[in-house]
Structure formats: structure tokens, C-alpha cells
Symmetry: C2
Subunit: 443 residues, 2 copies
């Protein structure tokens, strides 16, 4: 047994910052599952103090057993707290101040805050290591799925060749709903908002920013790379139309918002990290194609393990609380190693990979005016950019705006050529909107 485990039979004392749905979930979990959590942690886990914006609000749980702090940062200074659980959110501001102060005071920090970890995780990890404190963020990536642990420990023996998956439940809900209903993006988003699957301001979810936060965290753990959120090449799903989903279906694919990262190692050069969040065509035989609704899923390809697939609820109070308390149990057991698997000082800076040389198939969809010569113009651009076309579909009927869709699937070829073709078509009077380009995921 480790020193922590044998020494500590005393309760592990928790402070909770933020008592929204997830915070309430944590309180309920620690109450409902108290006995088994104690048995698995090796000692009781006790909430001693809480802080939130509104003390009086009815949350359906009794907060009176816990000390209350109006100023959340005061939780970091309490002598009776071992672990601060940050459930406030926001990459900076009060959450970051609390995290910094808690770690500076030698306390361990558990957080569900993907934006904060994506932006400041590396500095916080270095500070935590310096203090011998734990920094844990299982709940920050893919909700209840133990993917941080899966990569950091479960797949620890592997060189990860590629990590990719469905990292945003709202976007996946919208895409898979469009698949079944045939409705367009706008209407589906509106429904999702009414049903509570999308927020009033859905930007972070539908534009891929939330997925990019998570991807940058997974990439750091997978590749031993310094976190580089700003280098994520990010594109959302708002340009995906019902017609694209229909076309994809006819070709044997579904459309998913995929976050993907891998490393290009070229002899003599520093490694280059590719990080992309983009809507992709996924073959129906691929496990990600069967990931529907608000579910998340991650594929990790290890050089010895082969493909590992993890799937589960990507959000929600129960799943997120499950991940938060798993981290707390780890700390109670004495598991306080490097947050990103290797010591933070050893994380390697990587350049941003250019995807131009990547080869693969792609789906291109153009919205064009309904007039002669348009197809010739598009196919000529493809030819001139050396893009080989596997199939081309023109949706015959113009819609109310006199607009016609032309979709094509390319043969395997460099992505750079596609960019070149699109560049050649820029400014064309035939195109009524920028084309939508989606990579086709290999089986």
C-alpha cells in the first residue's frame, strides 16, 4: 500500500464550488452511493463546504450540513479542506482564480471545466506537481466516459497513433436527429433548444469549440504534447444540410462532428500535431456511426492495443458526477500522479501540422445557380487541381432560390489538391455559397 492509502483512514474532505445541476449530482451521488464509495475509496468522502452564487435557491438538496462561503475563493484557504471540486465553468475568472489558489494552498483540484483545462491546464498541472497535489479532470472530457483514465492509464503502454471521436453531445444530437427526421439544421437546432439539448447560445457546441477544448486535452495526454487549443482546426455543423445527410446515406455514410488528432514525425524535424474538429462522413460499419443522440464516443488507436473504443453519455448531471467522484476516489486512494500522464515539464511543444499532404477521400458539396455550364466549371477546377472524382450527384430540381446542389466524392488524394480546386472556384458567379468539404473517415 502507498503511504497515502495506509496513512489516511480519515475522511477525505471536499469543498464544492458551484452547486448547479452537476454540483447537485455530486451531492446526490455521495449520498446515494455513500457506502460503496467509502469501501472503494478506502475511507469516507465528506463534503465540508460549498459555495455558489445564490445561497437561497431551492436545489432539491439540503445544503445546511455544509459550511457556506459567499466568496468561492475562500474555499481554497480553508484548513478543513483536502480537495476542491470546481464546477463553476469558464476558462478564466473565478474558476481559474479558485483553481490557482487551491493548488497554491497544496489542495488537490477536481474539475469538469474543459475550457479552463484547455487554456490553463498545463500551468495548473505544473503547479500541482510542484505542490504534490492532484489535478484531475475526467469530467471535462466526454462526460461519464472514463477516457482520461483510459488514455492516461489503460492505454499507457501504447504509442497512440490516432485519437478521434464524437466529443460534443449537442452537435451529435442535432446531426443524428436530422438523419431520422430529414429536417434541416435550423429547425432541428430550434427543437433541440426547446428540448434542452442545446443552449440558448449554442455557438460553442455547434461551431465545434467545445469539442476542440476536449480534443486538445486528449491530444496532450495521447501524444505527450503541450496543450495547444489555439492550433485546433475547427469547423462546426451549421453548414450541413438535410440534403448532405441524404446524399451521405445513399453513399453508405452518416455525418458526424469528429474531433481528431495525430502526430506527424519527420526525421530531423520537430513533431507536428494535427488537431481537427470537422463534420466528416463516417462509414455505416464504423462504431462511431452507431453513436447517436447526445452520446459521446472516443477511439484510441494504440500501436499494441489496436483500436480501443469508449462510448457513453457525454453530459448530464449523473454521468458528469460519476466522473467527478471517480477522480475524488482516485485521490482518496492516493493516485495523484502527473495529470497528463507524463511529468508536465516533459510535455513536448509541437508545431501545427498542415493537412495538405494527408490523403483520403472527401465529399464536396456545392450550391450553385441553376444554369448551363456549372458542372463543366466545377469538374474543370477539379481536373486542374488534380482531384480525381469517384462519383458526382446533381440534385436536379432547383429550390425556391433557384439554387441547385452538386455533390461529389473524390478518389483517394491529397487534401491540398481539394483546397486548390476550391481556390480555383473562388469568385465564380455560379456558386451561391462557399462549398462544404467533408473528409471521409476510413473504416
Amino acid at each position: 500500500m502507498t503511504a497515502n492509502q495506509s496513512d489516511n483512514t480519515k475522511p477525505l474532505r471536499i469543498a464544492l464550488a458551484g452547486v448547479g445541476t452537476v454540483g447537485v449530482g455530486v451531492i446526490k451521488l455521495l449520498d446515494t452511493n455513500a457506502d460503496l464509495v467509502t469501501a472503494r475509496a478506502g475511507r469516507p468522502i465528506e463534503i465540508v463546504a460549498v459555495s455558489a452564487r445564490n445561497k437561497g435557491r431551492d436545489r432539491g438538496v439540503d445544503l445546511s450540513p455544509y459550511a457556506w462561503e459567499d466568496d468561492m475563493t475562500a474555499l481554497a484557504a480553508r484548513g478543513d479542506v483536502d480537495v476542491v471540486v470546481e464546477l463553476v465553468g469558464g476558462s478564466d475568472g473565478p474558476a481559474l482564480a479558485l483553481a490557482r489558489n487551491a493548488i497554491a494552498a497544496g489542495k488537490s483540484l477536481v474539475t469538469a471545466n474543459k475550457a479552463m483545462i484547455a487554456h490553463h491546464g498545463q500551468a495548473l498541472a505544473a503547479a500541482a506537481e510542484d505542490k504534490g497535489a492532484a489535478l484531475k479532470f475526467e469530467a471535462a472530457v466526454a462526460g461519464g466516459i472514463p477516457i482520461v483514465k483510459g488514455l492516461r492509464e489503460g492505454a499507457a503502454a501504447n504509442s497512440i497513433e490516432r485519437i478521434y471521436g464524437i466529443l460534443n453531445g449537442t452537435a451529435n444530437y442535432i446531426l443524428s436527429t436530422m438523419e431520422h427526421s430529414g429536417a434541416d439544421f435550423g429547425a432541428t437546432l430550434k427543437d433541440a433548444q426547446e428540448l434542452g439539448y442545446a443552449e440558448a447560445d449554442p455557438t460553442f457546441d455547434i461551431e465545434g469549440v467545445d469539442a476542440a477544448h476536449k480534443l486538445s486535452i486528449l491530444a496532450a495526454i495521447s501524444f505527450g504534447a503541450q496543450i495547444d487549443f489555439d492550433a485546433v482546426d475547427c469547423e462546426g455543423i451549421s453548414s450541413v444540410r438535410a440534403a448532405d445527410i441524404t446524399q451521405a446515406d445513399a453513399l453508405g455514410y452518416v455525418i458526424r462532428l469528429i474531433g481528431m488528432a495525430d502526430v506527424e514525425a519527420t526525421a530531423g524535424e520537430s513533431p507536428a500535431l494535427l488537431q481537427q474538429v470537422k463534420p466528416c462522413l463516417v462509414p455505416k460499419g464504423h462504431p462511431l456511426a452507431h453513436t447517436t443522440g447526445a452520446t459521446n464516443a472516443v477511439v484510441a488507436e494504440g500501436n499494441f492495443s489496436g483500436r480501443l473504443f469508449f462510448q457513453g453519455a457525454g453530459a448530464g448531471d449523473g454521468p458528469t458526477a460519476s466522473a467527478v467522484v471517480a477522480d475524488i476516489i482516485d485521490i482518496a486512494r492516493g493516485e495523484t500522479g502527473s495529470p497528463f500522464s507524463i511529468p508536465t515539464a516533459q510535455l513536448v511543444p509541437m508545431t501545427r501540422a498542415v493537412s495538405d499532404n494527408r490523403t483520403g477521400q472527401a465529399y464536396l458539396r456545392f450550391t450553385v445557380t441553376d444554369k448551363p455550364g456549372v458542372l463543366a466549371e466545377i469538374t474543370a477546377a477539379m481536373r486542374d487541381a488534380d482531384v480525381s472524382i469517384e462519383s458526382l450527384i446533381q440534385q436536379g430540381r432547383a429550390n425556391d432560390g433557384g439554387e441547385v446542389l452538386v455533390a461529389l466524392v473524390t478518389h483517394d488524394g491529397p487534401e491540398g489538391n481539394i483546397s486548390k480546386a476550391v481556390e480555383l472556384l473562388k469568385g465564380s458567379e455560379s456558386l451561391t455559397a462557399p462549398p462544404l468539404i467533408m473528409r471521409i473517415l476510413s473504416e
Copy 2:
């Protein structure tokens, strides 16, 4: 940091018992991924000694850097070994002797031996805890999938309501091959043997024994139950015919060999553990239906996490080595807690649950003689046992033996009634073989 982590910057010294395909995989992994394993483990991992039956055999790896022991048990006595890795196999015999001796000598044990853990895991765990040594067996369940860690740590905050999955790659390979080829069981098994997917004596795989070993381990971790391999209700796939797969397909299902465990808690009574390995009908929309070939997959349903799904290679040198080395890295990091998540002394003895009161839908298939009155006899038995029939399919044409298949799907109802119906039909001259009964997994 724990004492182990901060104290130990010295190499962790390994002895390898068994240098077959998996042992060679471990040697290759530790060589290929040496730098990243050292970084993630916090210190180098060094093989110092090996033992196997045949010293001279060419394994494609150089064993000369390591001390050689003719007697495997001698590895446990070596003063220069911290961790013994047992890759010999067999529930008893040399593997068990080595495991006992290693732990008695205060060494940690890592094993891929599901039979040994299913039969002796609890005693070994108690001994390891007593000595402050680690006992780890990630590779014993579902190959490269980190499911032991996923349950023991990732889902640690949850009361697990049910654990189930595809735990044998050979059986799954055979069933999913039958699905695509339309061939019968015997021919498919023969092909699988020729291709190396099934062993010369495939009994443990096709009769569900191997899956039962794994299930009993997962059940102990999930439910805090004492391991009870003998209580697994076990049925193999050799009775499954091509016609069953065709019928299932027409009804919207595939057939999979499913290991499943859950706990029935009745107030005032000791909890009852249900453990079953049986071929089941799986709805095509369920993630287990998309688990094909030699792949394994496990579903854990937690009371807060909801459904967690893990999928990956169930066997093979690379995936198994990945799991073995993940355990070694854990030990290097100082993670040496209770093997079954809670202290072994706290594992609860559970009675064997009777499934008669379970309700659900079932698929029944009768092989009958081609004569009048057979259907009336079967349906009368169903009526008399209070089994409600949703659909009934008679395969019209008799085969060479004058045998006809009658398949039916029941409405939701108690399993006990089905047993009763089958009992009523026992001894009937119309039936040419015992009926095949398969549960239908709910979505």
C-alpha cells in the same frame, strides 16, 4: 505524491514466466515503447529474468540479456525482482504455485490468467493485500480493453446495475462469420481452426467456459461479490444453427454469446447474484450487435454514469501485452490498491440467483419431425405454461433427416414459464432434439 512514486526512481524489475506469443509481445512492447513507458511509469521498467519450458526455441526475440530460470518458481525467490508476470496459463499447477510464492515473497503479481483468477483470485488477492503487494489482471478479461480499470476505477463512483458483454473472441468470430457466410456451426468452426481463430480443442471458447471465467471476475469487481465461478450458468454456441441466425436477422436481431451478471436485492435476504453466459438475440440497434469478428465488448450500467460501453481486441499478443504492461506501469506509479476494488475481506458472499422470475422476451427454436400435429403440441405447451407467443415461424421444408425447424418469439414474460413449457414437451416424440432457448436482450 505517494511514497512509492517519490521514493522509486529506480527501475522496476520484472520477471517473466512464460515466453509464448504474449510474453514475446511484452518483451517487444517494452523495447519498442521504452521511452514512453519510462516517462509514463515515472521510472524504467526492466526485465531481469525469464522462465519458459523450452530455452532453446527461436522466438524472434533475444532472451540473452535476461537471467534464465529453468524452474519458473525460482523467479519468485529472486532478490532482484519486484514484479512477477505470469503468462503460463492454467488455473492450477505451476502458474498457481508461482503466483502464491511470488506474493508470499512480497512481490507484486501481474497475470493474464483468467482461469487462475476465476478460481483462486480471491485467495491470491487476500494474500497480496496482506503483504502490501499488488495483484493485477487487466489482461485476463477482454484482452486489450481496460475494463478491469474501467470498472475498478473509472466507474468506481457507481452502483453497477448490470454488467454484460461479448467476452470470447472465438465464439464471436464464429457467430459473426456464420452471419455473413450463412454456413453452419461445424463448418465455420473448422474454418476458424484453420485460420487460427479457434484452438484445436475449442471447448473452453465455444462452450462459454472462458467467457464464464471473465464474467465471474467482472461480477466480483462490479458488485463487491466473492468470486463464484461455479455459479455461472453457462451455455455455449454449438447448438446455434445457420437457420437461427437467418430467423434472428429477419426479426431484427443478431446472435451473440453474452456474459451477463446482476444482483437481486430482496429486503431481509442476502443478495443473489445472477451470472449467465448464453447465446442471446441482440437488437441490431444495440452496440453489441456491431461487435463482430474476434472483438470483445463490455457494457457497464452504472446508477449515475448510465451505460458505459468498452470495445476492443479480445486477444492477440499486442493487445494482451498492452494490458499486461498497463498493469506494470500502474505498479511502477505506486497504484497497488485492492485487486477487486474493495478490500478482499469485504467481498460479500452471494447466493446464486434463480432466473425464473426474470421477465423478458425469448426466442425458442424446436427441431421437429415433419408430421401433422406438431405445431398444436408446441403451442398447447406454451398455453399451458402461460407463455404468450408474439410470432411463430415454421420453416416449411424438411431437411434430409425429415426434420423441420419451428421458431417462436415470446412476449415479455417470466423465464420460469418457458422452462415449464419446455418441461411439458420433454419426451415428446415430435421433437428430434432439445429446443434452443435464447433470451432477447432489451435495447
